[in-house]
Amino acid sequence: MLEIKNLKASVNNRDILKGLNITIKPGELHAIMGPNGSGKSTLANVLSGKNGYEISGEIKYQGKDLIEISVDERAQKGIFLAFQYPIEIPGVNTNNFLKTVLNKVRKARGEQEIDTLSFLKIVKERLSELGIDEKMLSRQLNVGFSGGEKKKNEILQMKILDPNLSILDETDSGLDIDALKIIANGVNSSRDKKKSFLVITHYQRLLNYINPDFVHVLSDGKIIKSGCMELAEELEKTGYKKIN
């Protein structure tokens, strides 16, 4: 699914990623943990194609080079980023936004556009699966949403767009235990042999619910240690400083 080799990224001549390697196969869920400033969010941004980074190295997605491809094309090809800080877009109705982006992605996949009624049916199913209040649909996109509501909306979008590779950028930060379970539930119910996940987090908390196949420690722009769930547990006990 995703193959990253010797990835380096810098902003304004400041090196952030310094030779990162990671391979994610279809069906796998990888967790990346790391202290503040280790480059976690940069990795998420670079994978989604955000402007403003000097990049070298190789990123292959489904066997094809990704670096030259634009943000929207990557999204259409099934790369989804659940944002750490989802932005507010005033005046844009959440339901309309979801329908617009779903149709855009469906079109790219060669599927037919979905009509309003069938769309509503899908959204309502997903909402009830996730235990999210329907009222969210009639509100303006992320406007006045609480932190938890914004993150839930990200997971709702992930469920609706049904991507191949989902990148969750600290989606668990600042959530109460109920919201955390909704996020975990959203991820778990999406997992299958074909879907891959890259879950970026500070804490072991979320990982307890989603059971990653691999855990990597990112420090100073490099993966310094990889392992299984035990690594996350160890980190929780000893902190990042002891890992070297």
């Binding site: 989604s48 030259e68 943000v71 929207d72 999204a75 944002f83 877009i89 005046g91 982006v101 855009k104």
Partner: protein, 479 residues
Amino acid sequence: MKTQKDIDTNPEYKYGFSTDIENIRAPKGLNEDTIKFISNIKKEPKWMLEWRLKAFNRLQSLKEPNWQKPKYPKINYQDLYYYSAPKSASGKPKSLDEVDPKLIETYKKLGIPLQEQKKLSGIAVDAVFDSVSVATTFKEELTKKGIIFCPISEAIIKHPDLVKKYLGSVIPISDHYFATLNSAVFTDGSFVYIPPNTRCPMELSTYFRINASETGQFERTLIIADKGSYVSYLEGCTAPMRDENQLHAANVELIALDDAEIKYSTVQNWYPGDKDGVGGIYNFVTKRGACRGKNSKISWTQVETGSAITWKYPSCILQGDNSVGEFYSIAITNNHQKADTGTKMIHLGKNTKSKIISKGISAGYADNTYRGLVDINRKALNSRNYTQCDSLLIGNKCGAHTVPYIKNKNSSSTVEHEATTSKINEEQLFYCNQRGLNQEEAVSLIINGFCKEVLQQLPMEFAVEAQKLVGISLEGSVG
């Protein structure tokens, strides 16, 4: 990433074609003969010609205003045609079947079907081509309710009492240079009269088309809503792509009597000029409504996306007690377009209310000014105004300005003014891109959100068109 080529290939202005049709023109130049020519060809009664000549005399002592932000090269008024009409329309076709097929075809291309069998459902259309109205649909249905909807040139002949009573009663012939010029040489436009206690059963709309070159269009529209009546009216405008700047100087007067309501919407899409600012329409328009009766209401909604220069302030004179004035505006300027637009709310009656929502968007090298006056008279006790002006900038070569004038002359009234200026947010664009929308779709979505409060004021049939137009106007503005 988008390549430069993608960004540069702006879709052409969709309405930029011109119709090759034989015209009857008045000789070039602004003089008494031209005015007599217009009056004569329209078979106007004597009082109308006298009215025009009075305005023309007044014009001699007026100077072109020069206080506006967008400056323009001096207009040579003697080098313009003041009347141009398709030869085939000169004898006034009696029914739609008699309208020149070339004209029918033109309106079809513009998306305005005029043929009986294809008429827009629920919307009556008056089609004005250069200086004449070429067709009006649904006339009979409206007549049954006592509603008059016809070209103003026809109303002058058939309904002289109404025209005499109300024409110039909101915009006096001596008002200012362009309004006076219009009073002297106006050619066509729509006339609407809604009888007492009648709710107009359909949207009324006029579609203005400039076709001939070197010609000014001097539209005149007069709408009267008698006691307890309601009407919703919409105008649309387009013009061919030309290197010259063409003048459109309209006067629009609205009169609402006791308990009457007029909703007036404009989707202005005159040719804006090319990317380097060559050509385009000068849209210098005087629009004014009088809430003459108690509890009356006038609501202006405008979506201004076209024209090289837009210079207009649709206003409300709130004379009747408890009357309400509203102004909802979207002004989009791209490339080298300029706009200086806003409103005037003159509170004269007691308990009068006004609301102003203005959304200005600038991109490219464009310059966009909101200018508005709220004037609450000493006797307009317990009056209220709320103003909200939001400006959005795209790129770093454009400008946005807000110039509010507020006069509150009594202590029982309140005025609120809120203004914001922001740039289009990169993070919002990234968010939309990450969900699969390309740059243009993302801009269109965000701008439509920004304009939502205004767009939702438009009649349903036009809201969708307007949303698309908002997107198209800004294509290529974000690199």
